[in-house]
């Protein structure tokens, strides 16, 4: 039985207090009817005796305490799902906005999902080729991984994400593949970039878009990524598809969360973000993965802009603690004109070790990867020293390392947004660059592999 209440007592920011209610449950979905007949949605945040505190999903403009009505619908926030969602555009609340025909839903799913039993997960280990050397070669992405891109204002993270969506494929397989894209509070131009890129490449037909633009209600952003993930879970675990979820920008999401938290007068954690930011982010990120009883997978690429490029800011920091690595973009490389400007050293893919090697990529992958990392790190150190003391202060071997670091940035990192390299090309390029250094420096490569792959002309 659904009852209507006209007992709204208070509206402040995104929160509303309703009094004298009966039988309302925690986390229940509500509907507010404005005097002009307009309906808006809200969710129960706290039940306290006969009062309930609800959070609005849309703006509070026009709500009238005396005449607005609230109904509680007896269930949580749900998203109607169907395979026909592919190719369609929704708003942040899961309503169609592309003007097309209505979709007949298969079922409705609670957008909060339920945690995956850790005993029912499969460990992600299938290599995804993104065609980007810095990712495939050094920070390998695998199916079911959550690998965020840490970016800064003005850096081309959108281009990188679009490149991954365009080029990603699993070696030697023709599986059903889909993209779920969640725009969280980004500008029209950025959203448009993605949509037109998806259209240009034809990817749009296998893409579901959830769009909450900067001009839309900030509070809607709290549900947007959950809508997208619910759609992704349906496609992955019930339709056995391999789903790539791109969410941009998580920073906007966290700010919306902070808005609600401060409106509730909660004790803030660092920088005013709520203490439960970690848990909250985790309930989204952890929805990536592979699980028993289903062929599909969810691979997640959340994008976030680090305020002031500060990696220790709570949003990137807590994200890094949950996700399985991070791709960090570098302003320095971008200024040099190297694209995509992936900052190789602090970037990391935690799951790479299980996704590479013989049978997956190539036997020499792990060894060359470690060697490239340490050589580039040493080269960069040498270059820093060179800035302070001049080239003559370097030993001859350090000079070679400096040369290697330059070549590595110019060739390996700088591949542009439209070059699609196979993993073999990436690995061979790695060998070519390593051969700038003397063979004796290859301490991280097994002797057999060194014999087999060391470029002959240089030897």
């Amino acid at each position: 039985m659904i009852r209507e209440y006209r007992t709204i007592e208070e509206v402040a920011g995104p929160l509303m207090l309703v009094k004298q209610v009966e039988g309302v449950k925690y986390d229940e979905l509500g509907e507010i009817e404005l005097p002009n007949g307009e309906r808006r949605r809200c969710r129960v945040l706290e039940v306290n005796g006969r009062n309930v505190l609800v959070q609005l999903f849309e703006s509070s403009a026009g709500i009238n305490l005396a005449q607005s009505k609230v109904r509680f619908l007896g269930h949580g926030v749900e998203l109607p799902v169907s395979q026909n969602m592919l190719g369609r555009v929704f708003n942040g609340m899961g309503e169609l906005i592309d003007g097309g025909a209505r979709i007949l839903p298969e079922k409705s799913l609670d957008i909060n999902g339920t945690p995956i039993n850790p005993a029912a997960r499969y460990y992600p280990s299938e290599f995804i080729q993104t065609g980007i050397s810095t990712i495939d070669g050094l920070n390998t992405l695998v199916r079911g991984q959550k690998l965020p891109i840490f970016s800064g204002s003005g850096l081309p993270h959108a281009n990188l994400a679009a490149q991954i969506a365009r080029q990603a494929k699993v070696k030697n397989k023709n599986d059903k593949f889909a993209v779920v894209f969640a725009a969280i509070g980004i500008t029209f131009e950025e959203a448009d970039f993605f949509i037109s890129d998806f259209k240009k490449t034809g990817a749009i037909d296998r893409t579901v878009l959830f769009i909450n633009l900067a001009s839309d209600a900030a509070i809607e952003r709290i549900s947007t990524p959950r809508m997208a993930l619910t759609a992704a879970e349906y496609l992955a675990f019930e339709c056995d598809m391999h789903v790539l979820v791109i969410m941009t920008d998580i920073t906007n999401y966290a700010e919306a969360l902070r808005e609600v938290s401060s409106a509730r007068k909660e004790v803030p954690g660092r920088r005013g973000y709520p203490g439960y930011l970690y848990t909250d982010l985790a309930t989204m990120y952890e929805r990536a993965g592979r699980k028993m009883g289903s062929e599909g997978s969810i691979t997640m690429i959340p994008i976030l802009t680090m305020p002031e490029d500060d990696k220790t800011h709570p949003i990137p920091d807590l994200t890094g603690y949950i996700t399985e690595g991070q791709i960090i973009l570098s302003r320095e490389l971008y200024r040099k004109g190297y694209l995509p400007p992936v900052d190789v050293l602090p970037s990391l893919s935690r799951l790479k070790d299980k996704g590479i090697g013989e049978g997956k990529t190539r036997e020499d992958h792990a060894n060359t990867m470690n060697q490239l990392f340490s050589a580039y790190a040493r080269g960069k150190e040498a270059k820093e020293l060179m800035v302070v003391l001049g080239e003559s202060a370097l030993s001859s071997i350090d000079r070679l390392y400096a040369k290697f670091a330059d070549a590595f940035e110019a060739e390996y990192i700088n591949q542009g947004f439209y070059e699609n390299r196979s993993i073999e090309e990436t690995l061979d390029l790695g060998w070519k660059l390593l051969s700038i250094l003397p063979k004796g420096e290859m301490k991280r490569i097994k002797p057999e592999l060194l014999e087999k792959y060391w470029p002959k002309s240089q030897a």
């Binding site: 039988g23 005993a119 803030p268 220790t312 920091d317």
Partner: protein
């Protein structure tokens, strides 16, 4: 049975009225779904309850029933190789019954009620027993002999004890109490998680927990019964260090608590451990492991309980006389769960919003570690070592959880992001890490490994410290300003870092190094240092020493097989001697 009605719901916190007769810390069942919760505050007839499951759909007026008992774990055969959630529900069994996602309000006993175990009594009719005595044993698997103990606080005489195959709840015998009453004995006992299990006496830890990780064993060792913490920013390899410890530590049992961390990491342990062999027993590593998984997407209140569940299980095995390691990843997530509940209870916050009792809770947890004389008349000794990962925000170890932890634990393995960027793993910073057990363990190392062990390891630390100072100079004035001796010292430091401290967890031989081999590796490096010093004194050029071919061979010494490395090391030594001798002679000729 106390029954109340819900007044307030705010996330995992529920307030119910009509609870005047309930006890603090009683477990309660909440709402129609029978969600599991625990009373954490009582005010008048109102009880504040933290609920271990998602509370969506709970509202005012729903009923709350107290079970009258505190949160307890089931202890008995069947614990090993199992994976539990934060309140000891068996995840594998739940997956089989209820599917891949976690449903709410599930009641599934922690120990398999159907499985039969073969019990062999160690006592007979008429024997008088008291707490901690061993009724008999169950060979739980190839590795662990499960000792069925007289529960703490019990005293009496055996009336009956049978050999045979029993389920955990079956009667294996009867005991007569001093007051004449008779009670059944089963294979299983229960214990409240928030109460430390009693022991007879605590002992100072004097044996090392050998981990096969070179930087740990050689520079910052931990004792059996000791406590350690591993703080580090994300990406610095905390979890890999923890996994390595769980895999290779020379303990009898490992309880691994995944507290608010990634689901895939637990899956990794679950899938990988059964395939690894324990270097000590030669059997699968999983057989000595109990997993507690409360991943970050699972309800936050159960995360708070998970560390207690884990350490109680560990104490139970310690009481059998085993050496147990509890590895908790990560205690910061546990502290955050405390913070969240504290916030919802509207308590006055301490630093960074953490409750004021954070430090005392942490201290209570780590104090449950230690080497003890167990209860029981045989005077057996058990040890419980506790190792906690800490995830400081922004890698800044001045934050409250790290600082509170450092005040308690004796070993600090500080992970360093800059080492991780250089792919120096394990990224344990040798300059700021410490172990307060070094001196206490010196006797054991000298006796069981080699007399030189303590000298070598102390020398390592000295060289590395000297390197840091020299690097400062190099940064200011360049390498050329250094004397040949100092440059050699840098060279030796580099060798220690690259050839000794760096250890690849993903390579078969390198992932575990026996102590003797560790000593041999250090011996090589210092042998090289001695000879090179000699050569320099005779006038050899340091650049020539840098480029000796034997250096590459030294770099590969770590991958010499663990059983035949001695021959290889001797050959390397011969090379060092010959090649430096040549340089020396050439220099003397000039």
């Amino acid at each position: 049975m106390v029954e109340g009605k819900i007044l307030k719901v705010s996330g995992p916190l529920v307030v119910a009225e009509g609870m005047r007769n309930a006890n603090m810390f009683d477990v309660v069942r909440v709402g129609e779904k029978n969600l599991i919760g625990e009373i954490i505050v009582m005010r008048g007839d109102r009880a504040s309850i933290q609920v271990y499951e998602e509370t969506a759909g709970i509202g005012r007026g729903d009923r709350v029933v107290s079970t009258g008992a505190p949160l307890s774990v089931e202890l008995g055969p069947g614990l090993l190789t199992n994976i539990y959630d934060g309140i000891q529900r068996p995840l594998e069994a739940m997956r089989e019954k209820f599917g891949a996602n976690l449903k709410r309000g599930i009641d599934e006993p922690a120990l398999d009620r159907e499985k039969k175990w073969h019990f062999v009594p160690a006592l007979k009719f008429g024997d008088t027993v008291s707490a901690g005595d061993i009724y008999g044993t169950v060979q739980e698997n190839d590795v662990i002999l499960h000792k069925i103990m007289v529960p703490p606080n019990v005293k009496g005489s055996i009336v009956e004890l049978r050999e045979g195959d029993f389920r955990v709840t079956d009667r294996i015998g009867k005991i007569k109490y001093p007051d004449g009453s008779i009670e059944e004995i089963t294979l299983m006992q229960k214990w409240p998680v928030r109460v430390a299990r009693p022991y007879r006496e605590k002992l100072p830890p004097v044996d090392p927990m050998v981990t096969g990780q070179r930087v740990i064993d050689a520079l910052f060792p931990i004792a059996k019964g000791g406590t350690a913490c591993v703080p580090g920013p994300f990406g610095s390899g905390k979890t890999v260090v923890q996994h390595q410890l769980a895999k290779w530590s020379d303990v009898d049992l490992v309880v691994y608590i995944g507290c608010g961390e990634r689901g895939n990491e637990m899956t990794d342990v679950l899938r990988e451990f059964p395939e690894l062999t324990d270097p000590k027993s030669g059997k699968s590593l999983m057989q000595r492991t109990v997993l507690i998984a409360n991943t970050s997407d699972m309800p936050v209140a159960a995360r708070e309980a998970s560390v207690y569940t884990g350490i109680t299980i560990a104490e139970y095995f310690r009481d059998m006389g085993y050496s147990v390691a509890v590895i908790a990843d990560s205690t910061s997530r546990w502290a955050e769960a405390l913070r969240e509940m504290s916030g919802r209870l509207e308590e006055m916050p301490g630093e960074e919003g953490y409750p004021a009792y954070l430090t005392s809770r942490l201290a209570q947890f780590y104090e449950r570690a230690g080497k003890v004389v167990c209860l029981g008349s045989d005077g057996r000794e058990g040890a419980l070592s506790a190792i906690g990962a800490v995830s400081p925000q922004g890698g800044d170890i001045s934050e409250p959880v790290t600082q509170a932890t450092l005040r308690i634990v004796k070993v600090f393995w500080g992970l360093d992001a800059s080492l991780a960027y250089r792919r120096h793993f394990p990224a344990i910073n040798w300059l700021n890490s410490y172990s307060l057990y070094r001196d206490r363990l010196a006797g054991w190392f000298s006796e069981h490994v080699a007399k030189e062990w303590m000298d070598y390891t102390a020398r390592c630390l000295k060289v590395l410290q000297a390197e840091a100072d020299l690097q400062e100079i190099v940064k200011l004035v360049g390498m050329d300003a250094l004397s040949a001796e100092d440059r050699l010292s840098l060279d030796v430091a580099q060798s220690i870092r690259e050839d000794f401290l760096q250890q690849n967890a993903f390579v078969d031989i390198d992932c575990y190094t026996p102590l003797e081999k560790q000593c041999g590796m250090l011996d090589l490096i210092f042998f090289y240092e001695e000879r090179a010093k000699d050569a320099i004194a005779a006038g050899a050029d340091i650049e020539d020493i840098y480029s000796l071919p034997v250096r590459e061979r030294m770099g590969r010494a770590k991958s010499a097989p663990n059983d035949t490395y001695r021959k290889e090391f001797d050959a390397i030594k011969a090379d060092i001697r010959d090649q430096l001798e040549q340089l020396k002679r050439a220099a003397q000729k000039d």
